[in-house]
Symmetry: C2
Subunit: 140 residues, 2 copies
Amino acid sequence: MEQRISLITLGVDDLPRARAFYAALGWHGQEAEETVFFQAGGMALVLWSRRRLADDSGVPGTGEGFDGVTLAQNVRSAAEVDEIVEQARAAGATVTRPPATTFYGGYAGVFLDPDGHAWEIAVNPGFTLADDGTLTLPEF
Amino acid sequence: MEQRISLITLGVDDLPRARAFYAALGWHGQEAEETVFFQAGGMALVLWSRRRLADDSGVPGTGEGFDGVTLAQNVRSAAEVDEIVEQARAAGATVTRPPATTFYGGYAGVFLDPDGHAWEIAVNPGFTLADDGTLTLPEF
């Protein structure tokens, strides 16, 4: 697994309120399917419904066991997703969404580290991944 | 406020266990004062006691109201810290640690966004901040 993070997703209860807050700080994002994406250096910060983020991560959305935040690493092949998720499982992670094809034409799986922090490992053909691992969002 | 993230800190209950987990995934970190720092592209992933992270962020460590994760943006001056924290407060953030000098010779404040996600805005003279905002950890 390369030592980098592609996306941080913050679960939010009110997307327009959250988007307005970051806009007030000077952040410019793009919205697609009730999700807001901000390019942030060589990665992206994402705002998404906390409930959907929990569901998508295969975890309960309330109480202990979900941060309301997920990390993601985008990789280059489905085989790499499988390999990293298996490596994590062997190291003590809980796999909450086994690797599978995704609705956006990619392939991804999710695990929780030993402290319950969620990581998605994903191939997303819509996001550009440079050789150095930096991620660039498309124009939506 | 520039549109970038300098550090993500994951609160952990057992630092050696957490460090061993990331080591098993191939991540190489440096430990200083019971904190593990991983260079991750132009930013850093940090592992730190969940309890201390909550205390340091000015939030209760258990139950609702703390993710167990914090984001940080490192900036270039104390005036910039003050300005961003005030801008966030005006936009609806809760300031949980007013800007002040820090034990490591820096200057920082913490706020929670409207969904309770914690951001530290900090000047840290020990971490190199390039013109493009990428952060490079020192050799500890």
